[in-house]
């Protein structure tokens, strides 16, 4: 188990290194000098050169990358003498727009995205898996057929359309819910939940369609397996057979997909954030891209990659915990 995790971690570090290199190389291939953008219109060539030296972007690319990596792990400093600016350990540089440390932006934005994704994930997993399980157990009934129809449509529905429909129905025309906003959980849990209810419902309903289809198919497959027949033959109650035996085997692939979905979403749910005007990581990326604010883009892309890679490892380990047939080696 330990050896497996260590090996996976090593591969993960290598993967992230390559992704950061690609991202770095690509983004610093931009011809318009960020120094020019930062400096403004009335800058002389000497001013621009000074800003470039200060940012360290007058150095050769490999050196810049080394500086970046150093900044992330041990911190770095920009400029020297009186203008020295220290950037402590997880240093991701400074925003080209307002000189705010990128680390600070990430720390501000991440809780918003996390809240959206985690609340939504609870809803979509609970709704999807239970719907899929019930319709598998009642295969062929009216309930099952209705569930199939709804989930088929739901799986083809898009967040940007469904979110706006909910916004119109629940906020604008009936006023049942307030317009989404973000209040930190630590400040007021009630306002936190009330403000995020709409994005949760949007993500929850839509994604649950996919999970319902998946868990229905998985459940049907496991219900026809020998160990379920054995469990029934032992005289276990239907409930025990369905939850302890069938569901536990059926849920493994669902955990994989859920883990990867959550990992991917944590990097930024930019559509949901755009619809509801929430200032999360996704919105930060969209804004940064529009102004070619490279340090922020670099940070959010890398962070998204970190989440995906981490989710992969977590899923693999969870596999062994959930499914006794899986041995990690």
């Amino acid at each position: 188990m330990l050896r497996f995790v260590v090996r996976r971690l090593l591969v993960a570090v290598l993967t992230l290194a390559v992704i950061s290199l690609v991202t770095f190389g690509l983004f610093f291939a931009v011809p318009s000098s960020p120094a020019k953008v930062m400096c403004g219109k009335n800058c002389t060539a000497a001013d621009i050169a000074q800003v470039e030296r200060r940012l360290g972007i007058d150095r050769p690319l490999p050196r810049q990358y080394a500086d970046f990596v150093q900044g992330v792990f041990v911190g770095r400093s920009y400029g020297d003498g009186d203008f020295r600016q220290d950037c402590p350990a997880p240093c991701l540089g400074y925003s080209f727009r307002n000189n705010q440390p990128v680390t600070e932006i990430v720390v501000q934005r991440a809780p918003v995205t996390f809240s959206i994704v985690l609340g939504g994930a609870v809803l979509w997993l609970a709704l999807g898996v239970s719907l899929g399980m019930v319709s598998a157990l009642r295969r062929g009934t009216a309930f099952d057929r209705a569930a199939i129809g709804i989930t088929l449509a739901g799986a083809s529905m898009q967040v940007y359309f469904f979110g706006l429909i909910l916004l119109y129905l629940l906020v604008y025309s009936t006023g049942l819910l307030p317009f989404p906003s973000y209040t930190p959980l630590t400040e007021s849990p009630v306002r936190w939940a009330a403000g995020l209810l709409l994005p949760w419902m949007t993500l929850g309903f839509l994604n649950s369609a996919l999970y319902a289809r998946l868990s229905r198919a998985q459940m049907l497959e496991t219900l026809s397996e020998d160990f379920v027949r054995t469990a029934r033959a032992k005289g276990l109650s239907a409930r025990q057979v369905h939850t302890r035996h069938a569901l536990r085997a059926a849920i493994t692939p669902i955990v994989t997909i859920a883990g990867l979905d959550i990992g991917t979403s944590l990097g930024g749910t930019f559509i949901t954030e755009t619809i509801f005007g929430l200032q999360g990581l996704g919105k930060a990326t969209v804004e940064a891209v529009q102004f070619l604010n490279l340090p922020v883009v670099m940070a959010t892309v890398l962070l998204a990659a970190v989440f995906i890679v981490a989710a992969n490892i977590v899923v693999d380990v969870l596999y062994a915990v959930i499914d006794p047939r899986v041995r990690l080696s």
Binding site: I19, L167, G267, T285
Partner: protein, 343 residues
Amino acid sequence: MSDLSHPPSLTAPGDPAAGEPIVSTPPDPVAAPSQIVGRSPNQLAWLRLKRDRMARASAVTLVVAAVVALGAPLLGLVTGIDPTDKFVDRLNDFGMPIGYAGGISADHWLGLEPGSGRDILLQLVYGLRTSLFIAFASALLASFIGVAVGVLAGWARGWLDSVVNWLIDLTLAFPFLIFALAVIPILQDRFYSDRESPSPAFRVALIVATFGLFSWTYTARLVRGQVISLREREFVEAARAAGAGTGHILLRQLLPNIWAPILVTVSLMVPQFIAIEAALAFVNIGVTEPTPDLGRMIFNSIGYVASDPWYTLFPGLTIFLLVLAFNLLGDALRDSLDPRSTR
């Protein structure tokens, strides 16, 4: 591996035209059950697909969509409206269309865009073209790369296979959407300065390339697995014994055996690309004005959801129906090509 003959050969067997002779020859199975007719697996798949009501309905929907998209200029001629025409005189002082349901009238069947005053139907129809073109081009590019890489890895094995596997893992670890979001404007900046506006074709090509380069992994894995299992079969050995070259074995012996799963992945990739393209346009990263786009229409409509929900409804419904029809057709295709799968 750069043989350009793959994509046509992949799609040809699914063509209705290819199945035409079968339609006329086999007798009705109910009317003459005693008569035994030999049918190839492809013919059986085609028969199963034809019997599927869902598949028929979605195929009709898609054909209608394709005809409408192709005939967009014709519609412009009939109605006498250009997608860029602005009917500002039909808007009130607040920029909202005059009349019911977003200004629906005999001249403007689906009303007008609030603010700009453009005809929604024309925007929709031209947006359909953008959407379908990008989705199909990306699906073909991704499948082409996937098939090429998959065949290469499966056939060569050894270190090349390991490299490809690692490349696939790496690509899967890339946060595709966030990366696409970042890459498209940055690359555009690389080739165009601020002042000149990029040509729409360049933007479309950039989007297609980005989609293709990040979506080949599934096809590659699939093809690699198939090639590995097929390469040891007797018919490959026979071909080699008969003196066939590698190119012949790969293209003539192996590919015809794996076109079915490839076709299914292509058909399921298209709706995904439609949705992703609209999602990028939704955050203003997709195709730019004045090229009409369904996703951007929805983005523009955000500010008007409270006052003119019809503006959101039409493009949203169009994308939904398009994606639904493609998904249903893809599912039906998979079911018909794989007799073991059950509903």
